[in-house]
């Protein structure tokens, strides 16, 4: 299948949907195309719904005050230019989605109901169908069940993308005047906390497997801050978000002795509201030092609160509610345990992702990155992803109007990409032997957990471990040349695995490079346990040379734009 389009959007999720509609609004004559691996009605992080939009600039706050907070939350290192441009668009973006049909409760003065300093409550069970409908109304061309496998480039310029139809087995060749990548972050890099039939009960969407990063890495795009992993503190077993209880109901966390250890140990850093890495580090240290399990203390919640708590989880993470019922848990006399999750790479929570400009253009001409796949501006969440979609659409439309031509694609490149896309399936059909994606997944996750600071190692990262992992991942990448896929679904799993290997390799390089511990809980470098602003108040960036395959790691300066103490919100 060959498609020519003005604007190509890879991934019809939170950020991708906003970008698509914005582009059509700016120029209804543009042809805007979304390639989506699942079906946009229920794909990506928002598949199950949400109960809050984090990041809204409330009355009395400003983009600058948001940046001060987000910078502190990221332990003093943030792309302030990105955070500022995003914050300026967030409120308008949310109001737009409200008009599309998202119910948002308001107070008697008509203001959105606050959840914490930066959030608002929403009735978001159907947020994804609502976004999908807006995309449809805007007459965007959506191709569902198309798995993108690579970008098409010509002399460092992105000229489209390729993929395959997981239903029809077609090869998709898309030529575009501009491309926006919006495929979300990467899950499944590490051994999860649960086994067997529960292995996908992880917090981040297990179907976002880092493709957006991987296609950029392979094409030579610059990446930033992969070492700022996202290890989340969540309700143990089901890995449900805890913000709903902790922020929504102001419930403290306690250790097995009943001590409010966050308030005790981290008072100077915000206590219960300390930056997220510390909120992971705190409980994990308690558990590691024999003061676990740790709990979220719901004692103060009355019957009405407990009912509202369940309602809110039904909008976002219904499994938690089923978990209560399936284990006979009554929150009045039993607390919920908390624990860390497997580590993820997620630009919406941390700084990991594409190195971008304020217009969301990447280091490759013609390519833009938004949402969880874009780096530098952590703490963007849903509101920030919306805003980035709008910003990138504007820039991409501008770019299309100024340089109005599709590029010819070299037929040799097309053959090469077609082979690369279908090789695991063809190998199987030829009767060749090789590992299956699931076998390789287990190996990858084991290596990453054991040598690259997985949750089972309390996230601790050692130099020696990283060196071993480097060798192991290299070996796995060689093995991946023999991967087999028995059907189209497994072909998708094969590409997810290949993409995660590329992400894992870059992650290890980043972790090795930063010789300090800036984010305890996310990036605990055993040999370098302290924060070191003198040497490391910089971004660690990387670029894989597409010709040699070498990964070059280097630094980029941090620039303070909003004045003030970086360690104070």
């Amino acid at each position: 299948m060959e498609i020519d389009t003005d604007l190509l959007i890879i991934g019809g999720g939170t950020a991708g949907c906003l970008a698509a509609v914005e582009a059509k609004e700016l120029d209804p004559d543009l042809k805007v195309t979304i390639l989506e691996k699942a079906h946009i009605e229920r794909s990506g992080c928002l598949a199950g719904g949400i109960n809050a939009i984090n990041v809204y600039i409330h009355e009395g706050e400003s983009p600058e005050s948001y940046v001060r907070w987000a910078r502190w939350y990221a332990m003093g290192l943030l792309r302030e230019d990105l955070a500022l441009t995003m914050a300026r668009e967030i409120n308008k973006a949310i109001e737009k989605v409200e008009k599309w049909g998202l119910p948002i409760p308001k107070d008697d003065k008509g203001r959105y109901l606050r959840r914490g300093r930066w959030g608002i409550h929403v009735f978001g069970e159907s947020i994804k169908p609502i976004l999908a409908k807006a995309v449809k109304n805007a007459e965007v061309d959506v191709y569902n069940r198309v798995v993108v496998t690579n970008l098409l480039t010509k002399r460092e310029k992105v000229i489209g993308a390729v993929g395959f139809g997981v239903r029809n087995g077609d090869f998709y060749l898309v030529r575009a005047k501009a491309t926006i990548v919006a495929t979300g972050g990467a899950a499944g890099l590490y051994k999860p906390k649960n086994d067997g039939e529960a292995h996908h009960k992880i917090w981040y969407s297990p179907f976002n497997t880092g493709t957006g990063y991987a296609v950029g890495i392979r094409a030579g795009a610059e990446m930033t801050s992969f070492e700022m992993r996202f290890n989340a503190i969540r309700i143990k077993d089901v890995n449900a978000p805890i913000g709903t209880i902790a922020v929504g109901f102001n419930a403290p966390v306690i250790n097995s002795k009943g001590e409010k250890f966050m308030q005790k140990n981290y008072a100077h850093l915000g206590g219960e509201a300390a930056p997220t890495p510390l909120r992971v580090h705190g409980p994990m240290e308690e558990i590691r030092n024999g003061r676990g399990p740790c709990y979220i203390d719901t004692r103060r919640l009355n019957d009405k609160d407990l009912r509202r708590l369940k309602e809110e989880y039904l909008d976002e993470y219904p499994t938690l509610v089923l978990y209560l019922a399936s284990n006979g848990i009554d929150l009045k006399n039993r607390f919920l345990e908390i624990y860390g999750t497997d580590p993820y790479i997620v630009g919406g929570h941390c700084n990991a992702g594409y190195w971008i400009n304020t217009d969301r253009s990447t280091t490759l001409e013609g390519l833009y990155a938004i949402g969880d796949v874009a780096g530098g501006a952590s703490s963007k969440f849903v509101g920030g992803c919306f805003a980035e979609g709008i910003i990138a659409a504007r820039a991409a439309v501008d770019y299309i109007c100024n340089k109005n031509a599709l590029e010819e694609v070299d037929p040799e490149l097309v053959d090469k990409e077609r082979y690369r896309t279908f090789a695991p399936l063809w190998r199987y059909k030829e009767g060749r032997h090789g590992p299956t994606p699931k076998e390789m997944e287990l190996r990858l996750q084991k290596v990453m957990d054991e040598y690259v600071g997985g949750v089972h190692q309390f996230y601790l990262i050692t130099e020696k471990g990283l060196e071993i992992a480097k060798i192991e991942i290299k070996a796995l990448k060689e093995q991946a040349e023999n991967l087999i896929a028995r059907d189209l679904h497994e072909l998708m799993l094969a590409h997810e695995l290949i993409d995660r290997l590329d992400v894992a390799e870059v992650l290890i390089h980043h972790l090795l490079y930063r010789k300090e511990t800036r984010w305890p809980g996310f990036q605990d470098r055993v040999e370098y346990p302290h924060l070191d602003d003198k040497n490391w108040l910089v971004f660690v960036n990387s670029r894989k040379n597409p010709k040699t395959g070498e990964i070059e790691v280097f630094t980029r300066p941090y620039e303070q734009i909003v004045p003030g103490d970086r360690y104070n919100p």
Partner: protein, 105 residues
Amino acid sequence: MLTIVIHHEKCTGCKGMKEPLCVKLCPGDLIMIKNEKSFIRDPGDCWDCMACVKSCPYGAIETKLPYELGYKDAHLIPKRKGKIIVWELVYSDGRREVFERQVRL
């Protein structure tokens, strides 16, 4: 116990539809039709987003926690009614709670 259970006495395979909603919407591409019934390819790969459960016109799909995570029998049944969704929660001891949530403006 599985992560989703497809009650085959209720599942009609949505004959006549190009793609049954459960097959169409699963973000992990996990559901397929065999002999006019829906099946999950690999129960362990389910994320519990409940897209299939909410969309099934016959109420034939139910989310169940794997035994590892929830060992008592309980039910959580969503039903979409216009602009609201009604959730019925049945505890292992038979206690029942009903919740109503707005989902559209």
